[in-house]
Symmetry: C2
Subunit: 343 residues, 2 copies
DNA sequence: TTGAAAGCGCTAACAC
DNA sequence: GTGTTAGCGCTTTCAA
C-alpha cells in the first residue's frame, strides 16, 4: 500500500501538502492540487486509518454494544445506527456481549478510546458502573433505549416513553372489550421491562380492572411461548395476552396455535416495538411501535456532540447529563387483536 | 488515558520493558515484571489499539461484508464469525452493503488494510473484480458461502454444496409423494441461487418429473409470499413448494395461510439454510440445514492463515487459491412438509 | 536483563 | 502556497 510520502514524492511535493489537498486544509495552489490528485489515483493511494487516528488523537469508529445480535431487534437498530454513523464518517463496531457483563467490560476496555471514540449502549446487560469508568476515561457513552424519560440514569441517553407504550397496549385491549388479560414481562433479570408493565397495569387500573396474571419470560419467541402456555393453563378464560416485547408476543401466538386457539378470535395478542417480524407474522402482530430509526439518529448525534465537546477546551465543563427523548410510541393495530368472543 | 511511557515512568523502567512485559517478549526479570504489572493496573493502562496497529503494521479487526443485516441469516452468521474472530483477538467490523456494489467498494477502499487486516465476504453483491483489487493490494479476502465446490471462484473461499442442498429438498418432497412442485428461486440478480435450483431440478428429473413451475423472488418473506401466490394462482394443483432459502419459504407458508391452504395438509413447504426462524415458525419449517457455524469457523481460520502468510517472507508464494469445503447440508424434517392429499 | 533509538503513516504548528 | 519539524503511542532491533 502506497503511503502519503510516496504520493508526495510522486507529485514532487511534501507530505504536508498532500495531506492538505486530501483534507481541504490550508491554501494549496490549483496546479499542485491537480498534480497531487493525479498522483493519488495513479498510485491508488488510500489513507491509513490507524495512522490518521493516531495522529489526530481520535478514532474512526463508534462501538455499539448489544446484548445479542441474534435478537432481531438489534440488527434493525444496528442498521439504523450504521446509517447515521456513516454521515459523520464513522464505522461501527458491533460488540456482542451475549448478555455477559464480563464480555461487555472486556470490549469496553479494549475498544473504547483506542479504536472507537464513542460508545452506544443498548440493553447490553452492562453495569452502569463500567460505563461510568469508560466515560471518566474520556470516551463518551450514550444509552440508547432508556425506558424512563422521567428518571435519568446519570449517563447521557436517549429515552423512549415505554410506560406509555405499555399503557397504549393495555388501553387498546380494554377498548376492544377484554377484561381477562395475561401479561408476559420480558428481561426479568435486568428489570428493564418493568416500566412497560407498569404502564399496562395503570391502564387496567384506570379501567377498574384489578387482577391480571403475569409471567416473566426470556426475550425470545420461545420464552413467550412457554410463558403464554403457562398463563393459559393457569387461566383458560384469558381472552388476551400483552407482552412487553414483540418476540414473546410472537411466541404467544404460537402457543395459541398449538392450543387450538384462533388469533384474534379466541385470543388477542399485543406486543411492543414493531420489529420487522411483527409485520411479517401470520396473523400480523398488533404492537406499539417504538421509533427505532429516530432513536438511532438521536443517539448518534448526541454521541457526536459529546465527542466533539470532549475534544474542546471546555472538556471539563461538566454541565448537566444530557437526555434526548424520542417521539412517543404509537399503537399499530394489525390482525392479532380483536373483540373477545366467549368460549 | 495513560500511555505506555507513563506506565514505564511509574515503574521506573523504559517503555520497551513495559512492552516486553505486556506481550511476554524478551527476557524480563521477575521483580521488574511485577513492578510493571502493578504500575499497569495502578494507572488503569490499556494499550492504544491504533498505535499498536501502526507500529506492528497490522490491524486488529476483520471486516465482514454482508448485503443486508436485516436478513436474519446474516446476524446469525456474524455472531459465529465474531466468536471465531475473538479467539485470535480480532474485532469484527460489519459492513452493510445494502446490496449496493458502490457502498461495498467504498467500505473496502477505506477499511481494508488500514483498519482491517482481512475481509470476509458473504453474498454482498460485490464485484469479484473489486475483491481482486483489495487482495492485490495485500489484504486477504475470503468468500464465505461459495455455492459450487466444483467451480472455484478464483479467490480463497469456503464452499458449501448447495446443489446437494437443492437435491435433498427435492428428494424429500418426491419421497413424500409430491409430483407437482413449485419452486421459488431467490436472488435472481446475482444468480447465486441457481445452483440450488439445479440440484432440485436434478432430483425431479431423476424421478421422471419433467415439468415444474418456477418463480424468482427477493430473498425476503414478502418476496416468497408474492412468488408463492403467483405460483399457486398459475397452478392451483401444486401440492408443494420448494424455496431456495428459508425466508421465501416462510413467505410461502404465509401465502398458504392467506389462501386457506393448510400446511402441510394442502401444501408442503421446504426451504434451505435452517435459520433460527425456521425452527420458530408455525408450523416449523422443513429445511436443508447449512452448517453456518462451521462455515464461519472455516472462513475465519482460512483468513487467518492467509493473513499470517501474507506477512511471511513467502508473501509472493502465489500457490493455488485455497478452498475449504464445509460438511454436507442436511435435511431437517419439521412440520411444514407431509404427504400430499388431493384437493 | 534492560535501555536507547528509530520508525510505523499521518497531522498540525509554524516558518519560509 | 508550500516546506520543516515534531510527535501521536507503540514495537522492535540493537547496544549496553
Amino acid at each position: 500500500m502506497p503511503t502519503l510520502s510516496e504520493v508526495a514524492r510522486h507529485a514532487g511535493v511534501t507530505p504536508a501538502t498532500v495531506s492538505n489537498v486530501l483534507r481541504n486544509r490550508g491554501r494549496v495552489g490549483e496546479a499542485t492540487r491537480q498534480r497531487v490528485l493525479e498522483a493519488v489515483d495513479a498510485l491508488g493511494y488510500r489513507p491509513h486509518l490507524a495512522a490518521r487516528a493516531l495522529a489526530e488523537g481520535r478514532a474512526p469508529t463508534l462501538a455499539l454494544m448489544v446484548s445479542s445480535i441474534a435478537n432481531p431487534f438489534y440488527p434493525e437498530f444496528a442498521l439504523a445506527v450504521e446509517r447515521a454513523a456513516r454521515t459523520s464518517g464513522h464505522f461501527v463496531i458491533i460488540c456482542n456481549t451475549n448478555e455477559d457483563p464480563v464480555t461487555g467490560r472486556a470490549y469496553l476496555d479494549q475498544i473504547a478510546g483506542t479504536l472507537s471514540e464513542g460508545v452506544l449502549v443498548t440493553n447490553a446487560n452492562l453495569e452502569l458502573a463500567d460505563l461510568h469508568v469508560t466515560e471518566s476515561r474520556g470516551t463518551p457513552v450514550v444509552l440508547c433505549m432508556w425506558e424512563r424519560p422521567d428518571d435519568p440514569p446519570g449517563l447521557p441517553c436517549v429515552a423512549v416513553d415505554f410506560r406509555l407504550a405499555g399503557e397504549l397496549a393495555g388501553k387498546h385491549l380494554l377498548e376492544l372489550g377484554h377484561r381477562r388479560i395475561g401479561a408476559i414481562v420480558g428481561s426479568k433479570a435486568s428489570g428493564v421491562h418493568a416500566t412497560r408493565y407498569e404502564g399496562f397495569v395503570d391502564a387496567l387500573r384506570a379501567a377498574g380492572v384489578r387482577r391480571n396474571r403475569v409471567r416473566h419470560a426470556a426475550d425470545t419467541i420461545h420464552g413467550g411461548y412457554t410463558a403464554a402456555r403457562a398463563l393459559l393453563e393457569a387461566d383458560p378464560q384469558l381472552t388476551a395476552i400483552f407482552a412487553t416485547n414483540d418476540l414473546p408476543a410472537l411466541g404467544a401466538m404460537h402457543a395459541a396455535a398449538d392450543l387450538g386457539l384462533a388469533v384474534p378470535g379466541d385470543l388477542s395478542v399485543v406486543g411492543i416495538t414493531d420489529i420487522q417480524l411483527a409485520r411479517e407474522s401470520r396473523p400480523a402482530l398488533t404492537t406499539v411501535a417504538v421509533p427505532t430509526v429516530e432513536v438511532a439518529g438521536l443517539a448518534v448525534s448526541l454521541l457526536r456532540e459529546l465527542i466533539e465537546s470532549s475534544y474542546g477546551q471546555n472538556a471539563r465543563g461538566k454541565t448537566k447529563v444530557p437526555m434526548r427523548v424520542s417521539s412517543a410510541p404509537q399503537l399499530v393495530v394489525r390482525a392479532s387483536s380483536g373483540t373477545p368472543r366467549s368460549r
